[in-house]
């Protein structure tokens, strides 16, 4: 008999019942999967119109990576998953538009645009669908501790790489 086929009879030899055998296998496996999700990455569905046209309104399965050091590898233009500051039970995906130390012009088209300096340890997140997105324009800058991971792929239904969408133009901002 192969070694794996002996696994069952050997456990029964030690007096384990079927239920205990199941728990001895299921609990470590579940914890292992949970640890992989917490420290490597996971695949999670997304819904909502705030990231159109990058992400569909419903049905997209996103791969979120959080390998150690992922916070240091974040760049402006990445899609990040985070926990909303006003509702700790809710997660969202938005695009990172500004890092700590940057100044953000909120709504350049308004008559009196507001300028916000992103403090140390915070980032500015904004949805691609500006008309229908609750993001840093409402929350303010978001602490890095709320960020959950970086979205790298959309794996289903149309597999595509989520690339960094930033187009950084050189030059000084001028309001003349």
């Amino acid at each position: 008999m192969s070694r794996f086929a002996q696994f069952g009879p050997k456990l029964r030899q030690y007096g384990a019942s079927s239920a205990r055998m199941f728990l001895y296998c299921a609990i470590p496996t579940a914890c292992f999967i949970h640890t992989v999700f917490d420290y490597a990455g996971e695949i999670t569905p997304s819904y909502g119109p705030s990231m159109l046209p990058t992400l569909n309104m419903a049905g997209d399965m996103l791969m979120i990576e959080r390998l150690p050091g992922w916070r240091k590898r974040l760049r402006v233009g990445d899609l990040v998953a985070f926990t909303t500051p006003y509702d700790p039970g809710r997660r969202a995906v938005k695009r990172l538009l500004a890092e700590a130390g940057d100044t953000v012009c909120v709504d350049p088209k308004s008559k009196h645009p507001a300028f916000v300096l992103v403090p140390k340890g915070h980032v500015w997140l904004q949805g691609d669908n500006y008309n229908n997105s609750t993001d840093s324009r409402v929350y303010g800058p978001i602490p890095l501790g709320l960020l959950h991971g970086r979205v790298t792929w959309c794996v289903w239904p149309s597999p595509r790489r989520i690339s960094n969408g930033a187009d950084i133009l050189p030059g000084r901002f001028s309001d003349s």
Binding site: P28, H34, D38, R71, P85, P88, G121, G145, L146
Partner: protein, 184 residues
């Protein structure tokens, strides 16, 4: 290795360690863990004697993260939270106010801050040495990683309760914007 012979002890230990590691990681991240306290911002409740050679170790209840935070946390709880200024730093502070409360900040006695929905106001018991909500304002409940239950080291203070708002802070907290806590 024939199937009939007993496995050597080191192999059994290695398999047991591999099987137990994810369970240990899960338990320490989500159920209960230990935390060593450094710094003086929670004196006298934690690390009361700075001249000691050792630091306090507390038992931390980790089942207060995410959506369980608003329900399971109360004013007066000592919590560990990720610092808003530095995501690699874990702070240990006391919750002074929960969402919708009004707080008079230290150093600005003629003003008050209304704690927004989903946020809380944290302060160290020893405010002079503490970087807390007096510097960075209300913090989101989602930044909280655990609730300190009791010190387990040193053994002389094992089992001491940490919860409860110090009396000298109650006059600055107005639950739901009504009368201050000292008058309730």
């Amino acid at each position: 290795m024939s199937s009939g012979a007993a496995r050597p002890l080191w192999r059994k230990a290695a398999i047991a360690a591999i099987v137990a590691a994810p369970v240990a990681i899960f338990v320490t991240d989500n159920i209960v863990s230990l935390q060593m306290i450094s710094g003086r911002s929670m004196q006298p409740a934690l690390n009361p004697d700075s001249n000691r050679l050792w630091k306090d170790v507390v038992l931390v209840d980790r089942m207060v993260q995410g959506e369980m935070a608003p329900r399971r946390l109360h004013r007066g709880d000592v919590v560990t939270l990720v610092s808003p200024s530095n995501p690699d730093l874990l702070l240990v502070k006391r919750i002074i106010a929960m969402p919708h409360d009004c707080v008079i900040p230290l150093g600005k006695p003629n003003s008050f801050v209304r704690v927004p929905k989903g946020h809380c106001w944290v302060e160290g018991d020893e405010s002079f040495h503490s970087g807390d909500s007096s510097s960075f304002g209300p913090v989101s409940l989602a930044l909280i990683r655990g609730r300190a239950l009791t010190p387990i080291w040193p053994p002389s203070r094992f089992g001491a309760s940490l919860a409860g708002l110090p009396e000298w802070k109650k006059s600055r907290v107005y639950p739901n914007g009504s009368y201050p806590l000292t008058e309730l």
